[in-house]
């Protein structure tokens, strides 16, 4: 004998499946997938059907509970009148456990599944729009027979939609007409080496030992390098020895490079030149010099070691242009903007057209496209704007950028206390002189500006902001909770984000109340004992869902204006206020239900 709870839930689950199928049928019949590229059609249809289902979920649940219980309440009455109290508690237990199950399902749907589905729908639509943009540019270039220029656009379009007939046709045309155009090499992972760079973290004694060892093996450049590093942070006792090694090594370097016209001497002279660039902090020149040398003397340990050193030093300030080739299809976040207060009291407004994440092996690297920064001074007057096509965002230790950035962190020296640093200038990997950098307006503002822009905020806040730009509704709940107290600081409205947070946190309570009211109606208008359930009654379900949808929609909607008023007067306590009110309302409905079963 199957109990009434089993029957009710069998009915509810059946109705879930039916609603899901209806949503799928509707989406496939209305051909929503035609809005996106053919590669995405199926996934887009599935996701939009899920979106539709989630939008109707509160109404589906309420109507299924309403009808299910109104049919099966009669099945509780099998034990006769003597078990009145036991029967009552059985009914109450069954009802409340069902309500909590419904609430759990709706929380899972709203907070776990819905954000994923929503973002994938948005991404597919955005990727399709990108593809259209890329193809428009490609078509214009192809008709102008500018094959070389069209190639990168066609390749990017193909990376979005690999089987696009039009793009493939263009690709063939390019290859036929101009075989010399090769696809840009996939961006090599920037090599991180351990040969030289950790020297900075060594202690004086270790550096001195290294310098001594290099001196004894006649590696003059190494000896000078380590001795100079050691001298940056001298220990009083042995500073003299380091100074002697450095001076002596330098004399040897000078002597070796002036030794004559032999190829070894020429190579050594160029190595010395590169080394001097490093000492003068001209890392770009040093990098290109060692890169040239590396082409012909790849086996020379000095060359490869100092190439690595120069590259690492260079990459602290610039990035390579080829790093951003082909990343735009991976842009997940678009239209990012925020304001940030500078330590001098002024405000910067930062806008980025899109952002993509890339894992380069040593950590997360972000690339932004179409970056604009607009600076206002502390009197709120405009100072300058800069814009750049591509920039790279790194997270760096706050301690490296002076005390102004330390205020955010309790422990500024810990490796976790990082700030976002934006590299504005990119350089070519092979050829000197090819750079892409920011454009300033007015142009005078460019004078003396460095290629680095440090954001006055913790790196974690920056990551939150990239999410917040998509709107409070699209943020994940934990991110939203962390962002609400920060919203005003970065140019977002506290009210709006807090209202959305409250609505999302209170949504389960609203669902609970609505389903409780549905069960009250189910009890009042339940079937009498002995009545037979007729199949044709099933046709009332969609109407019931429609009624619930309008009523639930109205209450969920009205919660917004109510919250704004509450937030206006209660500020951050509005959440408690509304939660307490909702719990009270739920309590009242629960008591009404319990009293009804007493009749």
């Amino acid at each position: 004998m199957k109990g009434p709870v089993f029957k009710t839930w069998r009915f509810i689950c059946g109705y879930y499946v039916f609603s899901l199928l209806t949503a799928f049928a509707y989406v496939f019949i209305s051909r929503r997938g035609a809005l996106v590229l053919p590669v995405f059609t199926l996934a887009y249809n599935v996701n939009s059907a899920l979106l539709l289902f989630f939008a109707a979920l509160p109404a589906v649940q309420a109507s299924a509970l309403l009808i299910g219980f109104s049919w099966y309440f009669k099945d509780f009455f099998t034990d006769g009148e003597s078990l009145r109290n036991a029967l009552r508690s059985r009914i109450l237990r069954a009802v409340f456990s069902s309500l909590i199950a419904c609430m759990a399902i709706s929380i899972l749907a709203m907070e776990a599944a819905l954000p994923l589905v929503k973002s994938s729908v948005q991404n597919m639509a955005a990727a399709s729009a990108d593809y259209d943009d890329l193809m428009n540019v490609s078509r214009a270039l192809m008709t102008g027979r500018q094959y070389a220029q069209a190639e990168p656009y066609v390749s990017q379009a193909l990376s979005v939609y690999p089987s696009s007939p039009e793009a493939l046709q263009m690709k063939r045309q390019i290859e036929d007409a101009y075989p010399a155009v090769l696809p840009p090499a996939p961006a090599p992972v920037p090599e991180k080496t351990t040969a030289v760079s950790p020297a900075e973290s060594l202690t004086f004694a270790e550096l001195l030992a290294k310098a001594r060892a290099a001196y004894e093996s006649s590696s003059w450049i190494d000896a000078h390098y380590y001795a100079t590093l050691a001298l940056n942070n001298p220990d009083t006792h042995s500073a003299q020895e380091a100074r002697i090694i450095a001076a002596d090594a330098w004399n040897n370097i000078a002597a070796a490079s002036a030794a004559g016209q032999s190829p070894e001497a020429k190579l050594f002279a160029r190595k010395k030149q590169g080394y001097e660039y490093i000492l003068q902090k001209e890392y770009l020149a040093a990098y290109y010099l060692f890169n040239d040398l590396n082409a012909s003397y790849a086996s020379d340990p000095d060359v490869s070691r100092y190439l690595d050193l120069a590259r690492n030093l260079l990459l602290a300030e610039h990035f390579f242009i080829d790093e951003v080739y082909g990343i735009s299809p991976f842009e997940k976040l678009r239209n990012i903007y925020f304001s940030v207060r500078r330590p001098d009291g002024g405000t910067d407004i930062v806008y980025a057209g899109a952002l993509s994440r890339k894992d380069d092996g040593s950590g997360l690297v972000l690339y932004v496209r179409d970056l604009q920064i607009h600076r206002f001074n502390e009197n709120r007057e405009f100072v300058f704007s800069l814009s750049v096509d591509y920039a790279k965002v790194l997270s760096e230790r706050a301690a490296n950028f002076g005390s102004a950035f330390n205020a955010y962190f309790k422990t500024p020296d810990s490796p976790a206390s990082t700030v976002p640093v934006i590299q504005l200038v990119s350089v070519d990997r092979k050829t000197a002189g090819i750079t892409r950098g920011p454009v300033y307006s007015p142009e005078e503002a460019a004078g003396g500006a460095s290629g680095l822009y440090v954001l006055n905020m913790p790196y974690a806040d920056f990551l939150l902001l990239t999410e917040a730009s998509a709107g409070a509704a699209a943020m994940s709940l934990p991110a939203l909770v962390r962002f609400v107290p920060l919203a005003e600081k970065y140019g977002y409205s506290f009210e709006v984000f807090y209202q959305v947070l409250c609505s999302r946190l209170c949504q389960p309570l609203l669902v609970l109340i609505l389903t409780m009211i549905a069960v009250i109606f189910a009890w009042r208008f339940r079937l009498k004992r002995g009545a037979v359930i007729k199949f044709r009654w099933l046709f009332s379900l969609p109407f019931c869902t429609a009624i619930c949808y309008v009523i639930a929609g109205f209450f969920i909607y009205m919660f917004g204006p109510l919250m704004y008023t509450l937030i206006g007067f209660l500020k951050q306590y509005a959440l408690f206020g509304s939660a307490i009110c909702l719990v009270l309302i739920f309590g009242v409905t629960a008591v009404i239900f319990a009293a009804q079963t007493h009749e």
Partner: protein
């Protein structure tokens, strides 16, 4: 007798509660329309609440009719006594409350026009001052004010024009005082808040249909129409005949053994009656539908014919349901 009295009391108390709740929501909605993100809270004038009462009470009266039928469905009442109460309440709503609301709201508009330069919701409050330090989507771009004065004499900020959802590089506009942007935004609600409280499309549709029907009824109460003249009855009968169709809803008081089905039928039929009347009387679908009537048929007669047909159909359904139920008397036993 006692249950009839209870039904009337149910109607009156629900009517009162609905009016209070709906007027409060009206108040809150317009409160939010004038709210600028980041500005301190202020209580709007109570006049707004009064306007809310006038704006909602006629519709609330119609909605409050339904729970009376729920009452008849739940409790055993004599069918004839219930019918009498139902007729009385429908007459009360369509012959007293609705005409009163049309007459009074016309009077109120005249009064408000004299005293406050028009009702508050029409004025669209010009006091919204956009707060600085927040991004907003305005005029097809993203706007950020670094400073705003109440008289907008000292303003600075930035406008990032957007095209197909992206800001265009190199197109940023620096905003200073007297920028033309301000000509377009004075009196505009804060898009940040309004974006969050926009009505879903289906609710907008419901609201617009209710307003269209309301206009239909209020035509008889325009200042140049003399009360109870022939012109008045011509104009009001279209709206009044909706009441005729509402009488038919009583059919569902005793329709099916499964009482919840009766409850579900009520809002669906109520929406159906209102929607059909909207389509045929307000949205202009009437001419084709009524083509079977002789062309010299008076216009008010069409509406009465339509609603009389609905009434007949509902009555037929109700009687059939009652007769079918008689075949299975054993289902009635508790």
């Amino acid at each position: 007798m006692k249950s009839s009295l209870r039904a009337v009391l149910t109607f009156l108390s629900l009517f009162l509660i609905l009016v209070l709740v709906a007027a409060t929501m009206y108040y809150l909605y317009f409160d939010c329309r004038w709210l600028a993100a980041g500005s301190p809270p202020e209580l709007r004038p109570p006049q707004l609440f009064v306007e809310g009462v006038f704006a909602v009470w006629d519709f609330c009266a119609v909605i409050a009719l339904l729970p009376v039928l729920f009452y008849f469905i739940q409790f055993k009442t004599s069918p004839l006594g219930g019918l009498c109460v139902w007729f009385f309440l429908c007459a009360l709503v369509f012959l007293v409350i609705q005409p009163l609301s049309f007459a009074v709201s016309g009077k109120y508009h005249a009064f408000a026009a004299e005293k406050y330069r028009g009702p508050l919701y029409v004025e669209d409050y010009d006091g919204t001052v956009f707060t600085p330090g927040v991004f907003r989507e305005l005029n097809g771009g993203i706007v950020y004010f670094t400073a705003v004065d109440r008289d907008q004499s000292a303003v600075s900020g930035l406008l990032l024009p957007q095209k197909s959802g992206r800001a265009m590089a190199g197109q940023a506009v620096i905003i200073a005082a007297n920028h033309e942007l301000f000509k377009n935004i004075s009196g505009v609600p804060d898009p940040l808040i309004v974006g969050e409280i926009t009505l879903p499309p289906y609710m907008k549709q419901i609201m617009s249909e209710i307003n269209a029907l309301r206009q239909l009824g209020s035509r008889a109460f325009l200042p140049d129409v003399r009360l109870f003249s022939g012109e008045f009855f011509n104009a009001y009968s279209g709206f009044l005949s909706i009441g005729l169709a509402f009488l038919g809803l009583y059919a569902f008081a005793h329709f099916s053994t499964w009482r919840l089905l009766n409850v579900l039928f009520l809002p669906v039929c109520c929406a159906f009656i209102l929607h059909v009347n909207y389509l045929l009387q307000c949205a202009g679908a009437g001419a084709r539908f009524f083509s079977f009537l002789p062309p010299d048929f008076p216009p008010w007669g069409r509406a009465v014919t339509l609603n009389a047909l609905i009434l007949l159909a509902l009555a037929a359904a109700g009687i059939t349901g009652k007769l079918c139920k008689k075949d299975h008397p054993e289902e009635e036993s508790v």
